[in-house]
């Protein structure tokens, strides 16, 4: 048996305003129903006006996933009833999405694997249901703050064979989206939502299985593998008993670590898609698409290659440094400053990687200073340094005794004395190591 897995991934964009109105899209943790207007609560007569930035960002995601960008695209209405959907339809894209036919390279056990991207399209998020008890009565409340927040849906080809590949791909996608700066892509906060379609076939078979199971509610990175593996095992058991699993939608239950049936094939929606009459079709030009390409930040792969070439770093170092854009930017800033102090990119890379530098609180200039200081210490002859330290220890027996008795502060007193005696900047940590060794 061989799993066949395709993914639908929703990424919420962090644009300033919502997809079709000017309400703030930054809803997380805000008082319910405070980011709303006639458009996003679907009042009679309200009309959607598409957010240009959101469309640009959707296309940028498509470009980053090597997609083709058709010059003609349109929005469609996806009709269904749910209390969190105030218009009774979601504005989405059906047969002419912004981006089609892309691919992404991932590395699995040092081997390259290409994952096909079927399409990337733009839609709006729904409101949120909150089930609670008011005055002893069980009620469902609707919060429309999220309603109309721009959502990009990425659909992959069924190219995954196991949960690990899915996880690696997701990390990759998260990295790309964060590099683009278009979403925080935080699964725990719901910025990135995964819905895998899972089925099994006999190994070596080419055609797709006659059924598939969609799994929803995987709300955390750590449950991705768990949910998929559970589902694979469940289907395997059914198939081995000679039956075919039902085509259905299942939800992942975190507490139980199981998937549970939500909706069968018979209950599947007929969304009655038709072109959204309130929004004229979107016509793009090659010039506009090129301009978007030109404005895209350097993506992880390109950055990694450049780091190897420009800074003569190993693939390993480059990979760690480019894993997050903030680290890569920090590194490059430090390299620039380090140049004036004869500090090599490799030294900076080593420091960042080995010392796990706190890049949020330590400025690149400070980091370079520390490295410079560390470098000068080594210029003092080791024997000479040890002589000085021994002397200072001999002159201060009380402090040595105090330290031995557990007074941590005493060692700082000794370090201060030593630095004064040397008269040069020196790495205190290095001194500390020698002192401790000598005392013992």
């Amino acid at each position: 048996m061989e799993p066949v897995i395709g993914l639908e991934i929703h990424v919420e964009l962090k644009t300033k305003s919502k997809m079709f109105c000017s309400c703030s899209a930054d809803y997380f943790g805000h008082e319910p129903n405070t980011h709303c207007c006639p458009v996003c609560i679907g009042l009679p007569g309200a009309l959607p006006v598409p957010n240009k930035t959101a469309i640009d960002w959707c296309i940028m995601i498509g470009l980053a996933l090597n997609c083709k960008i058709p010059l003609f695209s349109k929005f469609d209405r996806k009709n269904y009833f749910y209390p969190d959907l105030p218009k009774g339809y979601q504005i989405s894209q059906y047969d002419q999405p912004f981006c089609i036919k892309g691919d992404v390279e991932i590395k699995i056990d040092d081997k390259d694997k290409s994952i096909g991207i079927t399409r990337v399209h733009m839609e709006e998020d729904t409101g949120k249901l909150i089930h609670s008890t008011v005055n002893g009565k069980e009620v469902s409340l609707v919060d429309f703050n999220r309603s109309g927040v721009p959502l990009v849906e990425i659909v992959t080809d069924p190219d995954f064979k196991n949960a690990k590949e899915v996880k690696v791909f997701l990390q990759r996608l998260q990295q790309i989206v964060r590099y683009l700066g278009v979403s925080n892509a935080d699964m725990e906060k719901g910025d990135m939502r995964l819905e895998p379609n899972i089925s099994l076939r006999i190994k070596g078979e080419k055609s797709l299985p006659k059924y598939k199971v969609e799994v929803k509610n995987i709300n955390s990175f750590k449950f991705v593998e768990k949910a998929i593996n559970y589902e694979i095992e469940r289907q395997k058991e059914i198939l081995e008993s000679g039956q075919t699993p039902e085509q259905e939608t299942r939800g992942f239950n975190e507490q139980k670590g199981k998937t549970v049936s939500q909706r069968s094939k018979e209950e599947a929606h007929d969304y009655r898609y038709f072109p959204e009459p309130d929004i004229p079709p979107i016509k793009l030009t090659d010039l506009e698409i090129d301009a978007l390409k030109d404005n895209m930040p350097e993506l992880p792969d390109a950055k990694l290659e450049r780091f190897k070439k420009e800074y003569l770093l190993s693939a390993y170092d480059s990979e760690i440094l480019t894993r997050e854009k903030s680290t890569a930017d920090y590194f490059e800033e430090a390299v620039k400053i380090g140049k004036d102090h004869n500090i090599s990119p490799k030294q900076i890379a080593n420091t960042i990687i080995n010392k796990k530098v706190d890049i949020v609180n330590v400025l690149p200039a400070e980091l370079v200073k520390t490295i410079v200081a560390g470098t000068q210490t080594t210029q003092i002859d080791k024997k000479e340094l040890e002589e000085i330290i021994k002397k200072v220890l001999a002159e201060n027996p009380k402090a040595v005794e105090d330290y031995k008795n557990g007074k941590e502060n005493a060692i700082m007193f000794l370090i201060g004395n030593i630095i004064r005696r040397i008269g040069k900047r020196i790495n205190p940590n290095q001194l500390k190591e020698i002192i401790i060794r000598l005392i013992k």
Partner: protein, 469 residues
């Protein structure tokens, strides 16, 4: 002459020269409503207090030298337009208690131009209908003959103006809902080019067809009104950046040597013979004004109603989905028969397996109908056609025959499918009942329509005929 029967132009002049005040003018309209609307039933909500307050404010502005285009002019608003703080029902019990938190763009513009809103006019519920009888607040009567329908769906807007209860009124036209009642009530009604006037805040019927227009007593009044409502709206993505001219400016240029097309498909299609004769007289009038009458063909006209009754219910079924019983108080059981009929029809034609055969096909036919007009307008400046194949019918006559009711839109739906403007102008009386003609032109040719309409109106003066209430 009563103040409430003045044209917009006359009323404006009188207000500015302080012959009378807006309060007096408004009171005259409210008095007429008080006196006759119990019978006509053209209003769902009358805003006595707010209107008088607004009129007082207008008077003080006039004193201060303000001459905004609609300052102090009492207007009736179709109950499909969202009015902040004023109940907006769409003539459906579903929205019986709905008070909008915002103004439709057209309302904001009208208010900004100084208009006094008298109240919310009756109409077919959700604008579904050609007679006004589908209103959940009772049918509106035709002021010319109270046993007859005033035409729909903007029934109250038309009847209110025709019975001198306002100086102008607003409507919506998705398949003829302005032109038909204008024709049945002897007033001027404009269905503008699709997108010329913002739809934002107006309860949607069929989004790709809805046009936001208005009723006035004269063509010039109508142009003055469009000057206020037309233009790009950042809240409506279907309004293009096309400059708004002064529509009243070239109105008197005459129509000498203009080429006016008459589509043969509109003449040979089972029209009431009395109306055919009247229409021939109309053409003679146009010729006497110096226009050249040219026979044209719009070959796909016969498919228009079928095409319209696929696209329109499809969009209706989606647009009415938001009234799901969770908000607005009343649930779906409050929908009337016609709304239910259209929801079912539209849901069916959009369903998987039927979409290609119905909706997609209809959209293709729509493209052909649009092309018919484009081709025709290559050789002519405007089209003149009847609005309705029949005279206003009796109340109840078509209520149980939806298909017959749908066919009354046979001459009007084409303009909506093509997105072109249409101006309905009074053309005379038959058996004491009004008959109108429509002037159609290419997209954004409202200036031309007004020019043609004005020439005809000034020659014939049918608008001066008033019903005896």
């Amino acid at each position: 002459m009563n103040l409430n029967s003045l044209t917009l132009k006359e009323a404006k002049k009188g207000l500015l020269s302080k012959d009378f005040s807006s309060v007096e003018l408004t009171k005259a309209c409210l008095g007429q409503i008080e006196k006759y609307d119990k019978e006509i039933n053209s209003y769902i909500t009358v805003c006595n207090e707010e209107a008088l307050k607004q009129a007082e404010l207008s008077d003080s502005k006039i004193k201060d030298g303000d001459d905004s285009p609609l300052l102090g002019i009492p207007i009736a608003v179709k109950d499909l337009y969202s009015t902040k703080g004023i109940r907006t029902t769409a003539a459906s019990k579903v929205l019986e208690n709905y008070i909008p938190q915002y103004d439709a763009t057209a309302i904001a513009k009208i208010k900004n131009a100084g208009a006094v809103i008298l109240g919310k006019a009756n109409c077919d519920a959700w604008a579904h209908g050609s007679s006004g009888e589908n209103s959940d607040f009772g049918p509106t009567k035709n002021p010319w003959n109270k046993n007859c329908v005033p035409g729909g769906s903007s029934s109250g807007s038309a009847a209110s103006l025709a019975s001198d209860m306002c100086i102008a009124s607003t409507g919506t036209d998705t398949g003829g809902s302005i032109r038909l009642p204008a024709s049945f009530c002897n007033i001027v009604g404009l269905k503008p080019t699709y997108g010329r006037v913002s739809r934002y805040g107006i309860v949607a019927m069929a989004s790709s067809l809805d046009s936001i227009g208005h009723f006035t007593r004269t063509v010039e009044d109508n142009a003055m009104f469009l000057n206020v409502t037309a233009g790009k709206d950042v809240f409506d993505a279907t309004t293009p950046y096309i400059a708004v001219p002064d529509y009243a400016k070239g109105i008197k240029n005459g129509i000498e040597n203009l080429k006016i097309g008459v589509p043969k498909e509109y003449i040979n299609s089972g029209m009431d013979p009395v109306l055919s004769d009247l229409f021939q007289n109309v053409l003679t009038e146009f010729e006497s004004l110096g226009a050249n009458i040219i026979n044209v063909s719009l070959p796909h006209t016969e498919y228009a109603i079928a095409c319209y009754y696929i696209i329109q219910p499809a969009e209706v079924s989606s647009n009415l989905a938001r009234y799901d019983g969770i908000r607005y108080g009343n649930d779906r059981s409050y929908f009337g028969k016609e709304a239910k009929r259209r929801i079912i029809l539209g849901t069916y034609t959009l369903s998987a397996g039927y979409y290609d055969a119905y909706y997609k096909k209809a959209m293709q036919v729509r493209t052909l109908i649009k092309k018919d007009f484009e081709d025709a307008f290559k050789n002519i400046d405007a089209i003149v056609a009847p609005v309705s194949p029949t005279l206003p019918w009796k109340l109840g006559e078509k209520v149980n025959d939806p298909l017959k009711m749908y066919l009354s839109d046979i001459f009007t739906v084409t303009a909506n499918l093509a997105g072109i403007p249409g101006l309905s102008v009074p053309a005379g009386l038959v058996d004491g009942l009004p008959v109108g003609i429509q002037i159609l032109g290419p997209q954004f040719s409202e200036e031309m329509l007004y020019r043609v309409g004005y020439a005809f109106e000034q020659k014939t003066k049918h608008y001066k005929e008033k019903p005896k209430l």
